[in-house]
Symmetry: C2
Subunit: 327 residues, 2 copies
């Protein structure tokens, strides 16, 4: 049902170069900086976003410089890491990638500043590629991500959040960087505007599919599958699509329950289980997964413009993986 | 004794355009963003950094596009504003530009994210100028500033801080953005590498002069002159040059006092007055001001390469102003 392994194998030499760049460029004479950055970066994760950047360059079969694509890939990972550092402060998260969150070890102040440092280093790397277009794409992505985060911050406990606003939030805070990762890879490869647009579309749909699938998994997956605990979103009173649909579909019956647990944030033992029961009864989780499958299909369709290749197949498999995790 | 007025008058049309750009580009459909940004930006201050950017372009008498210099000036102000928002969280500051600090009104989370937003918007604006060199200068400045902030964070209560490290901190956290503001102005004007380097040198020396002078004023100026309370640095236990010199020069006599008030952070009524007495007795404040004057002279000397003009004279007057405030 899809996996990332094919892509990981194909991209091994590229990603070794990207990893080396990441390690090299996160160095600083100020010891806290590499220590804090390494804590998060060495914890790994799949490096999915930079992987998409190099894969997009390769799948386009462009004539561009793969060195540029690799630098852009490292930039994308720095931007992602910076947003994670800042997000964990914003959400007061305790864990990240299976480790204690950096702000709980080095303090919020250091996390803010090291995030800023990595963000700036990302732009220094981009400048080296001489691609003003890629710079524009990643600068815009960065402002859109921040906007999405603020929107989420102000609306995430709102039991009246509508589906459009929710989609606007996940497009901005998650899918935009996936889209930019793919788009800059294509730009780095120097291919036609049509292919660049196709890769952007792929990344955007893929990012939405990933987020919807994550949101569904948070009401059903084991903690191993996500590297965080299922039930986290509910525990934070965060309104995601499954919750939003469950609220809508249980209107009249469960208003007081949602008002108390989400809006007022007054949750007690057994509430998560009750929420799960409503979710299953209203089909909210499956409806969310159906939506995720639609976006995964959209992502794959966008790739049709590319020449047939192992790279293209691997990108298609990632779209399947996005929605089949934990299944 | 120097002032900023001549420069403000000369640059009025340029700065009106820069202000319009700033207002236009800080907008967002997410209401918290322009509200928070405006709180800080409309509080004003002198807009010294963007003023230096347009003035550097004008003083170089280059053939470049003044529109580019104005965009770079707005970018510089966005970067500055973003760092202020993040600094106030890092330092838990209560006031900024005579107003309650943004994080105390909208929360630290919003301040972190709006800072990120403004930082990203700065890079979007730079991209529009098509000047990859200016982008490189401001990207590097941004990472150097973050490094300087982290260095300060980890060393600022250290009674053994040496003068070199202190200078390294203020070069990074203050002077680097002054240098970049001037350098990008010259780059925007498209002048010779020699003039670009001279403007950078001017900005760097000017920034150091400003910071040293601020540090001295914090042990003597009225609160009107600085828009913050004199004594703030001592109240925060922050080691600046006057303090560092006072500690050095009172070795053997006052070690227990500094150890308690700065290292352990245990301060009580009358301590600031006692610190001031040591400062005056050891000549620490005057020694700091002497250093500031040297850097102001260095700044003016760097301008010798430029054609004689009202702009150049106005930039010289700013260097005098940096060290004569509150006198």
């Amino acid at each position: 049902m899809g996996d990332v392994n094919a892509l990981v194998t194909l991209a091994k030499p590229d990603m070794a170069a990207v990893d080396a760049l990441i390690i090299e460029r996160m160095q600083s004479d100020v010891p806290v900086i590499p220590a804090l950055a390494e804590h998060l970066i060495s914890a790994g994760g799949k490096r999915l976003r930079p992987l998409l950047t190099v894969a997009s360059a390769r799948a386009c079969g462009g004539e561009g410089d793969i060195v540029a694509a690799r630098k852009l890939a490292a930039s994308v990972e720095f931007i992602h890491t910076a947003t994670l550092l800042h997000d964990d402060i914003v959400d007061s998260s305790e864990m990240r990638r299976g480790k204690v969150a950096a702000h709980l070890i080095w303090g919020a102040a250091s996390s803010v500043l090291v995030g800023d440092f990595l963000f700036a280093r990302a732009f220094e790397l981009m400048v080296e590629t001489d691609s003003i277009k890629a710079l524009g794409v990643l600068a815009t992505a960065s402002s859109v991500i921040a906007e999405g985060e603020v929107l989420q911050l102000t609306r995430s406990h709102d039991v009246n959040l509508d589906e459009d606003t929710y989609l606007q939030i996940i497009r901005a805070k998650t899918a935009e960087l996936f889209a930019a990762a793919c788009e800059t890879g294509a730009l780095g490869a120097g291919v036609s505007a049509e292919k660049v647009a196709a890769l952007r579309e792929y990344g955007m749909a893929l990012g939405i599919a990933f987020q919807l699938s994550d949101d569904a998994l948070d009401y059903g997956a084991t903690s191993e599958a996500l590297g965080k605990n299922a039930g986290d979103d509910f525990a934070e009173g965060k309104v995601t699509l499954p919750l939003l649909l469950a609220i809508e579909r249980s209107k009249g019956d469960e208003d007081a329950f949602w008002e108390r647990t989400i809006h007022r944030g007054d949750r007690k033992d057994g509430d998560f289980e009750h929420a799960l029961k409503i979710m299953r009864g209203t089909g909210a989780i499956n409806a969310t997964l159906d939506r995720a499958y639609e976006y995964a299909d959209q992502a794959k369709a966008a790739l049709a413009i590319l020449p047939d290749s192992d790279w293209r197949k691997a990108l298609e498999a990632v779209a399947d993986y996005a929605v089949s995790r934990g299944a």
